[in-house]
Every structure is written in structure tokens, then in C-alpha cells.
Symmetry: C2
Subunit: 335 residues, 2 copies
């Protein structure tokens, strides 16, 4: 049996190019004792993947050259060799990488129930992006009823969940997204109180309009000038959650630091970084609560699903062009 | 009786110049009911004063044009008109401004005991700079035994106290200061574990040498490239206390934001601003504890005292050139 695998070949400088990866077709080896073979249906495409391609220590080891590109995934167990936990037909999620099949001993893989949520939701709202949103806005952002919450990347996999959780908790929520379609979506379908289109609006002016009283919590997925504009409108004791900085990930020069950081001093505010992996022991509790919200119709998710491992590169670039709607997913084998 | 007063005449762009202020000699009016006349002995010169000169809202109202320049001070009550709290001969500290005499109803003025500490100490270690150090490193920095603590402006009024408190609490302390005299002072006299001379050393290399295991707490008085270098060496869950940014106060362009701020994400670290005024209700408790440390010889202070209100401008500039040693004080009337 053949496994199409996307191999990481070259560390990119700036935006990845087609030769960053190489698609290979390799024969699947036999299972060793205690291993399982997983047929992967969906691969999660996330901005964090760009960081994993850089050399040097970060919160996680970089992907090594000639390895399968790292990615979260969801699929089905189709073969086992005396595995203590998984059996044929189990649906599971884990770090399967960008490939059609993966062999594993099952560590860091978890069963999912396809009757409770769709498979793509398990790598979206109930997967890393959802967990990032949940722990980021609740544990780091420490939102409370009545807070004015601003979130960037607001139509994305993380931002859309952040905003909806903040609404559930009684906050006023403003989202920043690119284009009127996304802005309409977060207000009309997700119930945000306001939206700013960073592609057509002056962000400083728009923030004055949407947050005339300032901001209590800013959940930052983008960095750059939007972070700077948010800093300039902090209220006393505001919290900034640094979750990502997608505007800076493909920089060839140094990251643009936030010039307005002294607003932290003036407003006795804080800026704190977070990495979702730290909350692993509480994932199941969070998934249960979020599953409940989904069932009650309080939490909506949208997945933007593209087809075919051959299309990985062009699909991946949609993360940075913004040309996608909701959680970006690549289908590699039909369910 | 004549009062020499330094009047704020012109908002500076960049470093203040001689015409930023005007020295006037004015007659002291009579006291109204409930007022006191204070003869000021010492004026506190602090980097924060530069911020108060800028137009626009900050954590405190800006000084208005044609007002006496705002400053902390310490002096003696020499005349009262039925004041409920103060009597002739009381030594007091408050916001007396850059002038020889001040008339006040006594609100926000506090009695001090010249037998327990010298008058300049009451505007230094036992005044705003000391309070800033105390609450900044303990309440915001949340130091604990064994932490590796880095402090910039380490020979200054705030930094020297920050480092000594961290030593008292069992931390390893590295200070950054300008010039070998200051570096020797913080190590040999104040007991810091190491020093970095930012005027002669490459800060990135020196930090590797002095903090090979990284930094748990960075107390930042200076901003700019030193903040960036510190960010690059954070340990997991590190805390940065943003107390000031003296390297940026006289910028004519935008502040240099910290390019390495994404280290907050990688290290799940936080950067938090503080303003000492928020801790006013606990000043007396802090002063008592610090007074105890001074009495036990655990906390040393050095005041660099210049003479004469006529010399305010050139003395003030020493804050930014670094040409001073310890807490900068201007004597305006002999004790």
C-alpha cells in the first residue's frame, strides 16, 4: 500500500515556496508489535506550522529536514498489531503529519466520536485551535462579564472561538478580520458586537469607533500594526493575550516590535504569551464544555475544506493571504 | 519673603533645553485659613518628570505651561494658619514642586522623622523611587528565592533598591549600568552577583555570560535594545516589570518597540506595567520594612546631591546622560 507523504526539504526564508516540500509516494511498512495504522482523513493547517519550520529552539522542536511535515490530523484506525487501546474502525486524532497514513504506537492519540461532532471539528473547534481559544481567553485573558474584548484573526479557527466564548461569558466583543465577507460573518452569524475590516479601514480610526471606551482584553493572533493600535486603546489593568503574530511569521527582517508597549505602563496592563500544549491535562474538560455549547447552538464552527495532499502548498498559503473562511483543513483521504 | 520658582514654559521635543523652564523670584502670599508654609530643602529629580512634560493623558495629568514644575520634595513647616495636622518645625514630604517654598493645605503631605533617616532618603529609598522598587519587584515581579533577576538602571535610585531587595529575598541578581564605576559599586558595595556595563559591552554577549541559564525576572527601567536583549534570554514563565524606558523618553520619533516580544509567547512569559501611585495605601508598611533593612545594614542608599535651584536644568540632564551616582537630588535651601 502506498502512502503519499509531504516531506520537509528546505527551511524557507519568508513565505514558503513550492520547493520547501516534496511530495513522495512510499510503501507502508509492516506494523511492529503494539502499533496501529491510521488512515488519515483530514489534516489541520495552522499558522503555527510556519514557526515549526524555523531552525532553533522555540516552544517545540523544529521540524527536521527530510521529515514528514508536522501537522495535527484526524483519521481512522485500519489495522492494529496487538494494540492495548485502539481497535480497527476507531476514529482518532493526533499529530499525524501531512501524509495519508501514519503508523504509531498510539501515544498522544485520542479517540473521537464521529456522532458528536464532524471529523474536521475535532481538529478545529474541539482540537488545538479551539483549545487555544478556550484557555487563552479564559485562563490568560481572564475575561469577566462586561469586559470589552478585541480579537484579531476574528474569522479564523482560533479568533472565531475566542469571540464566541467571550460572548457566552457576557463580554462586548469586537473582531478584526480581512474583507467584508468575514466581517459580516462574525457579526451576523457569530453574534460579535462589531467588526473592523483591516483590509479597507484605518485600524486606529476604526478602533476609536468600535471601542470608544477602550479595550479590557485584546487577544492577538496577528502582531504588527494591529497590536500597536490595540495597545494605544487599552483600559486600566487591560490584558493582552499573545497567541500568535501571523503578520510577522514570513518576515525576512526582524519582527516589528510594538512601539506602543509603554501603554502597558500607563495603564498598568499586561501582555502575556501562551502555548496551548501547557493545558493538555485539561483538554478533555474544555472539549466537554465546548461540545455542550455546540449542542446548545451557542458555539458555531466553520471549516474551510480543500481536497488532496497534492494541493497542500497552495492551500497552506491561504493562511497568510487570508483567502479562507474559518478553520483551514486539507482532506487527504475521503471518509 | 521671596520664593524662587522654576516655571514650566515650553513643552520640549526631545531633550529639554534651557528655555523649557524659567526661574522666577516671586513674593510669597499670606496663608489662608488651614494652610501651611513649607521651606523646601531637597527636590527629587526623577526620569518620570520627563513624561509629565508631554501633552496628552498619561497615568497622571501633564504639567501645565506656566505652572511650577512638578517634583517630589522634602522640607520643614515654618508657618501655619490653624492647620489641624502640621505645626511649625515638622519635617514633611510631598509634591512640593521645583521651588524653595510651597503653600499647601497639607493634603498628600506626610510627616517624616529626620532622626530615623536623612531628609534626602525620604525622597529616595523611603520615597517614590524606593516604593517603586519595592512594589515593582515584589508585587509585579513576584520574585521568589532562587530566581535569576536582571535589573537595568541598576546603580540608579530605583534599580539599586530593586537589586538589593532581590538579594534580601534570596535571588541571584545581575545589574546593568553605565561605566565601570557604577558596575563596581553595585557588585562591591551593594552585593549584586554580577554587572554589565552597557556603555562598553555588547549587551547580548554580556547577558549570555552573566545569565547563562536565562532570566526569571527582568526589571526594566530603560527600554530600547536592553529590553530586547533581555527578552531574548527569558526562562519559562518569566516576568518583565515595565517600570520605565529612559532610553526612549527623549525620542523625537516613535518609541522602538521590542522586536523580541514573541519570546513572551515561546516562554509563556508576561510583561506588565506598573505605576507606584497605585500602591499608596501600603507605602507606610513598605517604608517600615525598608527602614528596618536600612537599620540592619541590608539596604544601602546613595544620594547624589547638587546644590541650588539655579542649577536645576543642568542637574536634571544628568538623569539622561547617566552622569550621577545613585538618587539624584537638588538642594534648594540649606537644612
Amino acid at each position: 500500500m502506498i502512502n503519499k507523504q509531504l516531506i520537509f526539504k528546505k527551511r524557507p526564508v519568508g513565505l514558503p515556496s513550492a520547493d520547501t516540500w516534496e511530495l513522495q509516494s512510499n510503501t507502508i511498512p509492516d506494523l511492529a508489535q503494539g502499533e496501529v495504522l491510521i488512515q488519515q482523513h483530514y489534516i489541520s493547517l495552522d499558522p503555527a506550522m510556519r514557526g515549526w519550520m524555523n531552525e532553533g529552539k522555540s516552544y517545540i522542536e523544529p521540524v527536521q529536514i527530510d521529515e514528514v511535515m508536522r501537522a495535527g490530523s484526524v483519521g481512522k484506525v485500519i489495522k492494529t498489531n496487538n494494540h492495548p487501546k485502539f481497535k480497527d474502525g476507531d476514529y482518532v486524532t493526533g499529530w499525524g503529519g501531512v501524509q495519508q497514513y501514519v503508523i504509531t504506537n498510539g501515544s498522544n492519540w485520542y479517540k473521537v466520536d464521529p456522532n458528536l461532532a464532524s471529523l474536521p471539528q475535532y481538529i478545529g473547534t474541539l482540537g488545538m485551535p479551539g483549545m487555544t481559544a478556550y484557555f487563552g481567553i479564559l485562563e490568560v485573558g481572564k475575561i469577566k462579564e462586561g469586559d470589552i474584548v478585541l480579537v484579531s484573526g476574528a474569522a479564523g479557527a482560533v479568533g472565531s472561538i475566542v469571540g464566541q466564548i467571550a460572548k457566552i461569558k457576557g463580554c462586548k466583543v469586537i473582531g478584526i478580520a480581512g474583507g467584508s465577507k468575514k466581517c459580516n460573518y462574525i457579526v451576523d452569524e457569530l453574534g460579535f458586537d462589531g467588526a473592523i475590516d483591516y483590509k479597507s479601514e484605518n485600524i486606529v480610526e476604526a478602533l476609536k469607533r468600535e471601542c470608544p471606551k477602550g479595550i479590557d482584553v485584546y487577544f492577538d493572533n496577528v502582531g504588527g500594526e494591529i497590536l500597536d493600535a490595540a495597545l494605544a486603546r487599552l483600559r486600566l489593568h487591560a490584558r493582552i493575550v499573545i497567541c500568535g503574530a501571523i503578520s510577522q511569521y514570513n518576515n525576512k527582517k526582524a519582527v516589528n516590535g510594538p512601539s506602543n508597549y509603554l501603554s502597558l505602563l500607563v495603564n498598568r496592563a499586561s501582555m502575556q504569551g501562551m502555548v496551548v500544549l501547557d493545558y493538555a491535562k485539561d483538554y478533555s474538560k474544555a472539549a466537554k464544555e465546548m461540545g455542550g455549547w455546540i449542542a446548545q447552538g451557542k458555539l458555531k464552527s466553520k471549516e474551510d475544506i480543500y481536497d488532496g495532499i497534492e494541493n497542500f502548498h497552495e492551500t497552506f498559503l491561504r493562511l497568510f493571504s487570508g483567502d479562507k473562511m474559518g478553520k483551514l483543513v486539507l482532506k487527504v483521504i475521503e471518509e
